[in-house]
Symmetry: C2
Subunit: 388 residues, 2 copies
């Protein structure tokens, strides 16, 4: 029998436009918070899985695993570090590698350190960097951007299912409401439907309030085997299951423009392995890099039939409802440091499941589902955490 | 007991300046060769570990795992893909993740697909891309390049141990001799000491013949559990052990400029886990991105005392000697597609250990050691393969 896997420590920086702080500073802050939260020493860490999406292009820095290991001090203990990249799903992919590393029996205690420093560049240059997440030769070279691809999905979805834009905008509005209670969030202002609908257009029908921001930020986890945790009398939140699946890189190759098969399959794996039902989930953290992806996630994760996410939203997705979505504020309002977003979902899960989420605490939270997608859905990961 | 891990298939492209071929074409060719060599179907692959170092900057393409999965056709089976990055050790790090993934019991049969397309850009811009492997803020911003850092090491080494430049140049000369027998090699010309010593200076004391070239190329492996291999009546080469260790990112932070502690420690781990002695090794594939790193590797891997690598070289490192080094031609002559170099070392090992290395076959090859370093040695990996 392979080992059970637990998150024994979690930490993150504030998300935002942190102009005065560097890539490495952010990574170190989150890492030290996670180690302190775990109640271990940094020498207890046996390997670091770094997660980052765009530092090679934005910050002219590769070998991000080594960078984090160096500046957090663990390199002085010769603790190895490698970086995991799966576009905007890098963070969740790093958690999965940590999970497998513990299961392999090779490691007892590993760290996931995720960081993105988005605001060192601006303008068209930045847009081109972000478009490295698309298929360069068949999408980005022709001018496609991530927002444009999401807009295609939104337009077709609204047409085929006769959905109003307001139904989609309900996700960002809910995100901002939750983020107003999260001190780490990039945006803490509440949004009205009128303000949101009237924001500057980005790529019709998506306006600025449909699009997650470019945030700086870092998040880190200490992940350990059940036996390490017990031996050291620590506490943790169990990673019950990890699902991952794949689709074509370019949107035009997929079976559907508004069903992410990779999410459907990853969710199915995660649910089966956890042996749980959808109604068992106390909350979801979903990858709403664009509002429409929040809508499709609700459906692809199995919480609504295709075209029917609005019904779920109407029955309530706030922290007091039957299905709280993005209690953290989500990518839209907590913020979207690309390679760190997936890991910060787990930080929220740990807070919720250990009843330390303050104002936004979900009552009797027991199981959480974390959802990440790469770009427009090339790779999806779904993790379920919680239980005893 | 966790599973034994075997390489059941290996393939690579020719290395070189392949101007007419794209990143994705190269990746697919290597992947298909590996699948064919393994005697499995692509649907048998359960996960792809992509390895790449610089496509984000050179080719404006991230999400390389998805790119390879897409164009090799395995994305149509929803086989997940993530990318592993550890600078120039990315390939070896991807092999290690595959090894752990099998050990975890989560997977039976995985693919490592490694690719680098270096020649889409040239000149100063390219130099800056390659320098993303150094510490950007403390090295590259001040004009340091990988060649300059290696030159510092070479100068100090030659001074402290009273070593002549010819002793160091012996590595590239041996590499070219072996590569002349390798149809996949970038350079197949033999070098004389006179020609080599007279080449254009790059960063004194290192000239062009001390520096591995910028090569395009791809390499792929199919890696499986022992039970998968037996169940399907396949053959394979066993991965006996995997070692990994770390040092600071910037050269100036290290204990020594010419001892890579990360290599010393990774080699020790790999030897201990394999339960073998240095004299058991039939051949080494070492990371000689610069000739001096070939010298320090011989010492740091434990085959010579510090400062004494020249003695090992003088006693013979060709394919008929007691310790053949880089039978493939090494990074200098087989070529150096950065993120693919580490994986192509395993391709050579499979050829040697299955007696398919043609003209450069090492007699009675039984165990091989593969060595990779990230940049100037921030991360090192050592793998030992072979046995029964």
């Amino acid at each position: 029998m392979s080992e059970d896997v637990y998150i024994i420590g979690a930490g993150e920086t504030k998300f935002g436009e942190l102009w005065e702080r560097s890539l490495r500073e952010l990574a170190v802050e989150a890492g030290l918070k996670a180690v302190e939260n775990a109640g271990v020493y940094s020498k207890d860490i046996q390997v670091l899985y770094g997660s980052n999406s765009l530092a090679g292009t934005i910050n002219a820095q590769n070998d991000i695993g080594s960078l984090i290991a160096d500046f957090s001090g663990i390199a002085s203990n010769h603790i190895p570090a490698i970086r995991i990249e799966a576009s905007s799903a890098s963070g969740a992919a790093a958690v999965r590698e940590a999970y497998l590393a513990i299961k392999s029996g090779e490691y007892d205690c590993v760290m996931v350190g995720a960081v993105e420093k988005m605001t060192d560049l601006y303008g068209p240059e930045m847009l081109d960097h972000v478009s490295t997440l698309l298929d360069r030769e068949w999408e980005a070279f022709f001018g496609a951007t991530p927002a444009a691809m999401a807009a295609l999905t939104a337009r077709k979805y609204m047409h085929d299912f006769n959905v109003e834009k307001e139904n989609i905008m309900a996700i960002p509005i809910s995100d901002h409401r939750n983020a107003s209670m999260n001190p780490d969030a990039h945006f803490r202002n509440k949004l009205t439907m009128e303000t949101a609908m009237g924001a500057t257009m980005i790529s019709e029908p998506l306006n600025m309030m449909d699009c997650a921001p470019m945030s700086d930020g870092a998040a880190a986890l200490v992940i350990a085997s059940g036996s390490f945790m017990k031996r050291n009398r620590l506490n943790g939140v169990r990673i019950l299951s990890s699902g991952i699946s794949q689709d074509f890189l370019a949107l035009h190759s997929r079976n559907s423009i508004y069903t992410m098969d990779s999410t459907v399959l990853a969710a199915r794996q995660a649910m089966e392995k956890a042996g749980l039902k959808h109604k068992d989930m106390s909350f979801l953290e979903i990858h709403d890099s664009y509002s429409i992806y929040g809508i499709t996630a609700i459906e692809d994760l199995g919480f609504a039939k295709k075209g029917k996410a609005a019904e779920v939203i109407q029955s309530g997705i706030d922290i007091n409802s039957a299905l709280p979505i993005n209690p953290s504020g989500g990518l839209k309002a907590k913020g979207y440091p690309i390679g760190a977003a997936g890991v910060s979902q787990f930080v929220e899960a740990v807070l919720q499941l250990t009843e330390k989420a303050g104002q936004r605490q979900i009552k009797d939270a027991r199981y959480g589902m974390m959802h990440s997608i790469a770009g427009t859905g090339s790779t999806s990961l779904v993790h379920i955490v919680g239980g005893e």
